[in-house]
């Protein structure tokens, strides 16, 4: 039997679409890059041409200075003809603003590269669109059956309860600066928290970018402009690295929280010195990953980064053909 999608090669530094000589999320500079979303491990600068959604390009311009002629915007659902008879279509992935799966079509075969994705509703981005294909190249960040993310409403309720329980302290939420921070803020607003939310300096421009794309995050203020006393009883959002940093000394005895899928495992939270672990993830959990594979029902599943052993095992148990790709440089410790 002929191998499926032999025109796609997994190389250590990215997925190579051979007939079009394009790379998906390459970790080294290439002539033509197709980028799924703006996180640093997928979107890097220095490529000749970068094809990505308008929002992803705006994020890359903000973070890595990618702009000008090399940046080629694409719209969700509109096929783009590449060289060598390859067509690429960006489809929403539900991960962060602008995130996409990339559907590649060539020689009668359909291949989807998911990038990172999730299936739960997220007020800050378009929802994942399940799309039939022959080869489904999926992420596996949380591919262990212990990872079952609880409803985001429950976690936000715990965050608000911690704020109410400590009127003299503030709650400091560590959240990845792109995506997670804005989602936590948007979910707080949805839960009826309309007080100003205070930001670490590294968050400000990304939140402003989200607002430019029409995502209402309510009133945001800079921690730098606020006195320590005024922060009591407030919610502050910072990048995870700042949680235990000297920066946090300017806050009134913060309750240290972290919004991440890893918080499901107690020792991960302890390693981060977290008092209030919030299991909020922008990645698919075990149930979402396995349900998505069943729903998309590809002839083959290729597994990229994360805990590929377990997802391979699930495919084996469910008589699904699968293999793991060895890609370098993807890190999702900050989800």
């Amino acid at each position: 039997m002929r191998a499926l999608a032999s025109w796609i090669r997994a190389e250590p530094h990215g997925i190579h679409v051979v007939p079009a000589d394009c790379w998906i999320d390459p970790s080294q500079p290439v002539a033509r890059a197709l980028v799924t979303h703006g996180h640093a491990d997928h979107a890097r600068g220095g490529h000749g041409r970068t094809l990505a959604t308008t929002a992803t390009l705006a994020i890359m311009a903000l973070r890595y200075g990618v702009e000008g002629e090399g940046a080629v915007p694409v719209a969700y659902g509109e096929p783009v003809a590449l060289a060598g008879g390859v067509t690429a279509t960006w489809l929403p992935a539900g991960h962060v603003l602008g995130s996409a799966q990339i559907l590649l079509e060539h020689a009668g075969e359909r291949v989807i590269v998911t990038g990172d994705y999730k299936r739960r509703p997220d007020p800050t981005c378009a929802p994942f669109v399940p799309t039939p294909c022959d080869v489904f190249i999926t992420e596996a960040t949380f591919a262990l059956p212990v990872f079952r993310h609880p409803p985001v409403e429950d976690e936000v309720a715990r965050l608000l309860a911690a704020r109410d329980a400590h009127p003299d302290r503030c709650v400091l939420v560590g959240a990845y600066a792109l995506g997670k921070a804005q989602r936590v803020i948007a979910e707080l607003r949805r839960a009826g928290h309309h007080a100003p939310i205070y930001l670490h300096g590294a968050m400000e421009r990304m939140c402003a970018l989200y607002a430019d794309f029409g995502i209402d995050l309510g009133e945001l203020r800079a921690v730098a402009d606020t006195s320590k006393a005024a922060l009591a009883g407030q919610i502050v959002v910072c990048p995870p690295a700042a949680l235990n940093d000297r920066w946090s000394r300017r806050l009134p005895d913060p309750v240290t929280a972290m919004a991440s899928g890893w918080m499901r495992v107690r020792q991960r939270a302890r390693q981060r010195n977290v008092e209030l672990p919030l299991v909020i993830s922008d990645h698919a959990d075990w149930d979402e990953l396995t349900r998505t594979i069943s729903e998309v029902n590809p002839a083959e599943t290729w597994i990229t980064h994360g805990r590929e052993d377990a997802l391979l095992r699930w495919c084996e148990l469910n008589q699904r053909k699968a293999r793991a790709l060895a890609l370098a440089g993807y890190e999702d410790e900050d989800d």
Partner: protein, 536 residues
């Protein structure tokens, strides 16, 4: 069970000792009897359910989750109970409300090997993930949430405004759920003391001298008494109400393993000393004690053979007397207790009891010189005790110090690494290392000589973890074999002949003392160098 589960969860995420004390104290104050008593038993390791083992949980999960997926999950999470609590297939509607702690304890105690699978599952079905975690931790008796029994007792004392030393003392005569203890502390009932029972009294412990501030302004010999630190196990021998018991430092009853010692005490007394085996290894012929290795053969036995009693006879070298003939001497100065102990010696069986010698030293420097000799005499080091110190429970600052001899050092090569558990679950933190069995440049091989999982700082652990991941040549389940390129300086207290290792040697208290990334592997030590340090 929900309140207990919430307590366990909060304790996991609370770093500060005061924060933990406050959480436990609040729980003990607000939870009704007998739940709080059972919870206290769980926190202090006082519960035992023989039908529930780690293997029970694995078997329970094997019926519900693919074993490969369970193993991968367990490896990642680093804790069997937590893995099971997360993987448990929840029924769509719980069959009953969550059990109380007392209800759960009663059910667990009634389980047998033939019913445990069914009945434990029925309890788990009634709980959420946090509740399942708490239940499984309680059931297997391995809480591992960084709460010592001492901390829990301190929290108990804090909750009810009583003295923690009183709690320790009363504690040992009580069984869970400690109703008389709560009646005393919470409701002012008279303390349930057992005068006529052989109860354990909390040990007085020493601080390491290194890094301590010792007041040397007063005349040394008048202020301090020095003794050898013998290398056996610290024990307390208690006789009361015509019964004698031997307790280890943690308060475990080890009478059954040392019947000859228990049989030799016929005076009502509480004595503190070092349990040793007759021999000539420690302190030469005159010292009369064998190496720790010899004692180890006798530990953990429920029945002791006649041959063992003959080949490795045990005795106690006495350090202190707490109570004798009904008189409690603990508030007296060390000098006075020492005099009482010396006066007591003629009444004790000399084959089973002797007196720990007081070392004559008139300055710390003189003692340092004597301590240097400790290596040759295979003694662990020296002790320094204030002559005016009362016998107080625990480690009281400034009264007693231990001054261990300097460790031995050897350069080894890292061979294998295994992931740790608990808070080190994501780190390769258990290291097996080896020495060369000849000239490495002439084709010698590395033979494993020991395993260590401490001695390094958190930053060094991160470094070692990264090193292991990037120098792996083979994987065997949770174990990685490395490319044998890294030299580790290993510190250890002593080394003995052992049939357990291919090298024929086993180290005592090995720990990683330095990472020698600067040293090429072929310059690490040879087995002969290590063998030369054996003093058996």
């Amino acid at each position: 069970m929900e309140a207990f589960a919430a307590l366990i969860d909060a304790l996991v995420y609370t770093r500060s000792r005061n924060g933990k004390l406050a959480l436990i104290a609040a729980y003990l104050r607000t939870t009704p009897d007998p739940d709080r008593g059972w919870a206290l038993a769980a926190l202090t390791g006082g519960l035992d359910f023989p039908a529930v083992k780690g293997s029970t949980i694995r078997a329970l999960m094997a019926e519900r989750v693919d074993p490969v997926l369970f193993a991968l999950s367990r490896d990642y999470v680093g804790d069997t109970a937590e893995t099971a609590s997360l993987l448990w297939p929840e029924p769509p509607v719980p069959p009953a409300p969550p059990p109380t702690v007392a209800e759960a304890v009663t059910a667990l105690a009634a389980m047998t090997r033939s019913t445990v699978q069914r009945d434990l599952a029925a309890l788990l079905d009634r709980l959420d993930a946090n509740g399942r975690f708490a239940l499984l931790k309680l059931a297997t008796g391995a809480m591992r949430i960084g709460i010592s029994a001492r901390l829990a007792k301190t929290a108990f004392a804090q909750a009810f405004g009583v003295n923690v030393d009183d709690v320790e003392e009363i504690w040992h005569g009580q069984a869970a759920p400690y109703q008389p203890l709560f009646d005393w502390a919470a409701h002012g009932a008279p303390p349930p003391l057992g005068e006529d029972r052989p109860l354990f009294r909390p040990f007085m412990l020493a601080h390491p001298l290194e890094g301590a501030v010792v007041d040397l302004t007063q005349a040394f010999a008048e202020t301090w008494a020095a003794e050898w630190k013998w290398d056996g196990i610290r024990v307390q021998i208690v006789r009361a109400g015509r019964e004698t018991r031997v307790y280890s430092r943690s308060g475990d009853d080890i009478t059954a393993a040392f019947p000859e010692v228990a049989a030799a005490l016929d005076i009502p007394a509480v004595l503190d000393g070092e349990l040793l085996v007759r021999g000539s290894h420690q302190g030469g012929e005159a010292g009369g004690a064998a190496s720790f290795n010899a004692l180890q053969q006798r530990l953990g036995r429920k029945i002791v053979s006649r041959k063992m009693l003959a080949d490795a006879p045990a005795f106690v070298r006495l350090y202190d007397v707490l109570i004798v003939d009904g008189e409690d001497l603990r508030s007296f100065a060390w000098d006075q207790r020492r005099a009482a102990l010396e006066a007591l010696m003629p009444r004790l069986d000399p084959t089973r009891f002797d007196l720990s010698e007081v070392i004559a030293a008139d300055s710390l420097d003189a003692l340092a010189a004597i301590r240097e000799r400790a290596r040759d005499e295979a003694i662990e080091g020296v002790m320094l005790k204030r002559r005016d110190s009362p016998y107080v429970a625990g480690r009281r600052t400034g009264l007693w110090f231990k001054w261990k001899r300097d460790p031995l050092l050897v350069d080894c090569v890292l061979m294998y690494a295994q992931r740790g558990s608990g808070k080190r679950s994501s780190f390769y933190s258990d290291f097996t290392f080896g020495c060369w069995d000849g000239d490495p440049d002439a084709g010698a091989e590395l033979l494993p000589v020991g395993k260590a999982y401490f001695g390094f700082t958190d930053d060094e652990l991160k470094w070692l973890d990264r090193y292991v991941r990037t120098h792996t040549v083979n994987r065997f389940g949770p174990v990685r074999e490395t490319d044998r390129s890294l030299v580790l300086e290993v510190a250890f207290d002593s080394v003995h002949e052992s049939r357990r290792h291919k090298s024929g040697l086993a180290m005592r208290f090995p720990r990683i003392s330095r990472i020698r990334a600067d040293k090429p592997a072929h310059e690490a030590d040879r087995i002969e160098a290590l063998r030369a340090l054996v003093r058996d």
